[in-house]
Structure formats: structure tokens, C-alpha cells
Symmetry: C2
Subunit: 313 residues, 2 copies
DNA sequence: AAGACTAATGCTTTTATGACAATAATAGGA
DNA sequence: TCCTATTATTGTCATAAAAGCATTAGTCTT
């Protein structure tokens, strides 16, 4: 038995004191109301109404029951409306996670804009290299580099995530640009540490990608400090293209063309920056508007970067 | 969809965060829980849980929904329990209606006893000649004279309801006992007025019951005052046997044997005093205990009366 | 006294729920 | 790293419940 429906019938019937009117209200035949009420009474083991074929009235127990049930029904109605309103009105917390570096350069300003656009939404921005799971509800939106895309989330490509070997013009003038892996071994190199370990440099040799055995002068999980070290001419680093666009453009850094392509993560796989979010099984407006705004800002940002790069070349 | 069941599943699942545990709790396969929750989510148009095959957690909306739903569910549980408790524990109001005269003689003391027996029950005793409808919920128990019994109520016979022509020994000494209807027309007679009119006297003539055309000296809806007038020797009256048992027994009144039987209401139909109450479709304990107690007292009273009558004869 | 309105009931059709089995996905351990 | 155990989901079927419709029975009104 659909108890909740029976209770709705009960409440309406208690109000109208008419089976037919109640039935009309719910667009069902009056026999349905009659049967549901009867079932309800049988379930409770008590008569709720006194019926004459012509009139209906509440019993003492009916009044008692109504007094308890009516507010509960109302609560349920309200709850439903709240949820449905929530899924339309953008309020609540949106949890965003993003990679350091990229976050500071691009996501932070985008989120600032988002905050001013939707002051009612609360944002929880978690900048970390940890890969927070969307599917286990640790975040609503994830912005990170990825090669192969998770299956159950929607991924919007924000731009490339390729690594460039860079040094300052000053450094190149003093030491020359490295050409071989042996050159590298003699050069001061800086590496990035992720929670899963140091991001090794890999090189293509005879069609295979191999890790280059290097002893880095400086390892950090703080990207900007590595960038700063390179800009200061202290050595070489493999840095993501989006992280050096500005420095390339204004001449602070130069890209070093190596004999082969270089990659930091597992060999040669094409990587990109992605914005990831739950498939919109159900329309969570707060997530939707955030995604839309972020995508707009971040892809625009990446276009600008690309333009800047082109200009530098 | 049984929404209430879905909500119960939801509440339990939000608490346990385990489909299988929830399913065990309700003794249903976990697939049922899974489906009900999915249906609920589809109905609401919003995701309530984030599921991994290994773990379940509430979404923001889920928490919100739970906050509204949980108290409502509890209210419904409480309401159910209240009703079921009510139908077992004898509390609340019992409305009793009874005929004047009979009520004062027999019902009043019985109700007094009932009140002391069940101090938690409230009694509403309506002494009237009006025939209050049980079926339209105007009373829980009715005690009245009846010939043919209503169909949808339970009737317990309390005793006869036959009318006797009586006068005081003093009156008979002075005027002699009437023998014919003509005798009656010359005698001072007292009649009872019901809400439906004066209770006419009827007589069997050639097998047919006919109303005797009399000009009563005194008409009242107050039985005791008619009785008193008769006892004082002021005239004759047709009085119910249960109303004159004591006076017959102690010699204050004498029954007059007439040439035919006499009746007050529609001709010659056998009438009785009945206690009427709703068929116990559902066990309303307060009514049940009241009926039991009243029946016990009133039938015992009627036995005593009968004994008293026998003794007087 | 008859008609109109209302609730209940009997029956059929449709719907949805539960049961069982199988699958997919993950966490933990050897 | 592979294997196993646990957990949620999906597919299919049988069953139970609800709706729909027509009819009956009982009141109130004119």
C-alpha cells in the first residue's frame, strides 16, 4: 500500500469531508480514495471516519491522527520543494579542486569572478596535487591534468598540458643550451614533487620512452619557486606550457629545443588540462553555473596563452 | 511508487550509509532499496546520494532533505503508535445517549459506576428523547426503546419495554378501574410527549390497532412528574413497566387489567429496551469497556426489576 | 414518493514491487 | 600484482496492489 498517498487522501478527506471532492482533487476515481482510506484504517486498526452514504465525519481518533499527520505531510511537501528549488536555484557549496600552479595562475581569478557573480554560492577551493575523487563526492569540480579520462565524469578540455624545457636567456648565454641527455646530467635541473613522487623526466630513445637518470639540484612541490629559480638563471626545468606563457612572451624564459620531445609523466602520452565534473544526471544548478563560468574563463585564458606563445615565437 | 517506503529507506540509508544493511533492516533484497532510492531521486530530480560500488555518502541536497524528512517520518510513526495505543487503552470521550426516565432510574447509577471504574475516560451523557444517530457519529452508545432494530449497529436487549395502565389503589377505590375505552374517555389521563409528538394510546379493536381518542388532563415530557401524579391518585397513565416496578412492588400503584392489551407506539409491536453501539469493526476499547459495564449493570437491574415484579404478583 | 447525489463494492486491466540471479566495481590481502 | 570478498546495480519474472469502470445501496431533497 502506498501509505503516503493514503495519508494525503486522509488529510484531504478530513478537510473536505467528501470522498468525491477529495477524489476530484487528486484526479482519481472516488473508489480509490475509499479503498485507500479503508486500507489505512485497517492498517491502523481503528476507524478514522464515520461514514454515512451521504456524509463523512472524523472520529476522535481521526482528529487525533490528523493533528499528528498534517504537519508531517507538510514537512514532506516542504522538503520536496526545497530539494527541487535547490536543484534550480544556485545555492549551497561548490567544492572545486585544482592543481597548484595552474590554480594560482588561472583558477583563482576565475573563482574570484565566480564568487562575485554568485554571492549566494559558497566555494570551497582545494588546491592540491592529490587527485580528489569526484565519484566519491570529495569534490564537485576538479581541474587537473589528465591523459586518459575517467569514464563516469564529464571532462571539458581546457588546453594542452605539455612540458617544455626552459632556461633563462642569461643561463643559456653562460652555459649554452643542452642538446643531449648527457648535457642534462651535467646541468643543474629542478624537479617537481607530486604526492606520488618526484616527476621524473623522460626521453624517447629508439622509439621507447625512458626515464633520464638525473640528480636534481632542487626538488619542490611549489611550482612558482622552481619557475623563479629558472628565471633567475640558476638552472633548467621542465615546466608546463601554461605555466611559462607569460615568461616566454616577455623574454624572461627561453624554450630549449631538444633533440627529442620531452615529457614528465608516463611516456609520450598526450596530456591536457581538463575540467571534470559529475555527469548531470540531475541538474545541480550551482555546479552547472560554476562549470559554465569556469569553462568560459579558463578556455579564454588558454587562448590568450596560446596567442602569447605564438607572439613569442 | 510507495513514497513513504522510499522515504523510510532513504532515512535508514542516510543513517547506515549501506544499501545492504538498510535492506537487511527492512528484510528486503538490497536491489529493492537501490531501486526505491533511485526512483525517489528521479522523482525529486536531484541526487540524494553519491554511490561508489563500495561506499555511499549523502549529497548536500541529501543532507538537506534528510533534515526535513526525518522529523516528519518520526511524526508519522508517533501518530500511528498513538492511534494504535488509543484503540487499546481506554481513554477519550464516550458519548452515551439515553431516554429520560430509564436513564434516571438505571443508566445514571450505571454511568456513575463506570466513571469510578475508568477515571481516565470522559463521559458525555445526553439524556434525551431525540434519537441521536450512532451512524452519523452523534453518540457512541445509545440506550433506548426500540421495536425494529437498526441494521448497522449492535443491539443488546436490556429488557422489555411494555406499557401498563396504572393507577393508585386510592384512585381505584374512589373511581373503580376502567374497563372500556369509554371509561377512559371519562377518566383523567396523563400522557407523555416525545419530540415526535404526544405518545398516543392505542387499542386493539377487531384485530386492528386504533388510536383511542382521549383528551389528556396533563401532558409532559417529564416522566417522573406523570408518575407522581398517578401515585397521588390524580388519574391514569400508561407507563413503561421498568418505570413502575418499584411502585408496583411497594403497593403505590396498581396495574389495571384492561379488556385488551395496550401500547403507546405504533400498534402492538413488541418493543424492548436496547443498548446500541457501533459494530466493533475496530476495537475502540473505551467503548468496549463501557458497553460491557453498562450491559452488566442494566441487565442485572432489569432482572431485579423482574424479580420485584414477580414478587409483587 | 421519486430522483439525484454519494459512498461502497465487484470486476478487469495496468502498474509496480519484490525476489532471484548475474554483473560491475572496488577494497583488502597474499 | 593478482585474487577474493564485499557491495551496488541491472535484467527478468512472478506476484501483489492500485486504478478504472460499472454497478449497487443508501440518504437527502424536491
Amino acid at each position: 500500500m502506498d501509505r503516503l498517498r493514503a495519508l494525503r487522501y486522509f488529510a484531504k478527506l478530513a478537510q473536505t469531508l467528501s470522498f468525491s471532492e477529495t477524489a476530484d482533487h487528486f484526479r482519481v476515481p472516488s473508489s480509490s480514495v475509499s479503498r485507500r482510506i479503508k486500507d489505512l484504517e485497517a492498517d491502523l486498526g481503528a476507524a478514522l471516519f464515520v461514514r454515512t452514504t451521504r456524509s463523512v465525519s472524523l472520529t476522535d481518533l481521526g482528529k487525533l491522527y490528523l493533528g499528528e499527520i498534517a504537519p508531517a505531510l507538510q514537512s514532506i511537501e516542504i522538503a520536496d520543494e526545497m530539494v527541487q528549488a535547490q536543484s534550480v536555484a544556485p545555492t549551497g557549496t561548490v567544492r572545486i579542486t585544482a592543481m597548484p600552479g595552474y590554480a594560482e595562475l588561472y583558477v583563482l581569478p576565475a573563482v574570484q569572478k565566480l564568487r562575485s557573480l554568485y554571492p549566494d554560492i559558497e566555494f570551497d577551493l582545494n588546491i592540491t596535487d592529490q587527485v580528489l575523487s569526484l565519484s566519491s563526492n570529495e569534490a564537485d569540480i576538479a581541474i587537473r591534468a589528465a591523459s586518459e579520462l575517467p569514464d563516469h565524469v564529464i571532462a571539458r578540455r581546457l588546453g594542452d598540458h605539455t612540458f617544455k624545457l626552459v632556461a633563462s636567456p642569461d643561463y643559456i648565454n653562460r652555459n649554452g643550451a643542452p642538446r643531449t641527455s648527457d648535457d642534462l646530467r651535467d646541468s643543474p635541473v629542478f624537479m617537481y614533487r607530486t604526492p606520488r613522487g618526484v616527476l621524473n623526466w623522460q626521453m624517447k630513445k629508439n622509439g621507447n620512452w625512458e626515464t633520464v637518470d638525473l640528480a636534481p639540484k632542487y626538488v619542490s612541490n611549489h611550482g612558482p619557486s622552481i619557475l623563479e629559480s629558472v628565471v633567475k638563471g640558476q638552472g633548467l626545468a621542465l615546466l608546463p606550457s601554461w605555466g611559462i606563457a607569460a615568461e616566454i612572451a616577455n623574454g624572461q624564459l627561453e624554450e630549449i629545443d631538444f633533440e627529442d620531445a620531452w615529457l614528465s609523466t608516463s611516456g609520450g602520452v598526450e596530456m591536457g588540462m581538463y575540467l571534470l565534473y559529475h555527469p548531470p544526471k540531475f541538474r545541480l544548478e550551482k555546479v552547472k553555473v560554476s562549470v559554465d563560468s569556469l569553462i568560459a574563463d579558463l578556455t579564454r585564458g588558454s587562448c590568450q596563452r596560446n596567442l602569447a606563445l605564438s607572439a613569442a615565437m
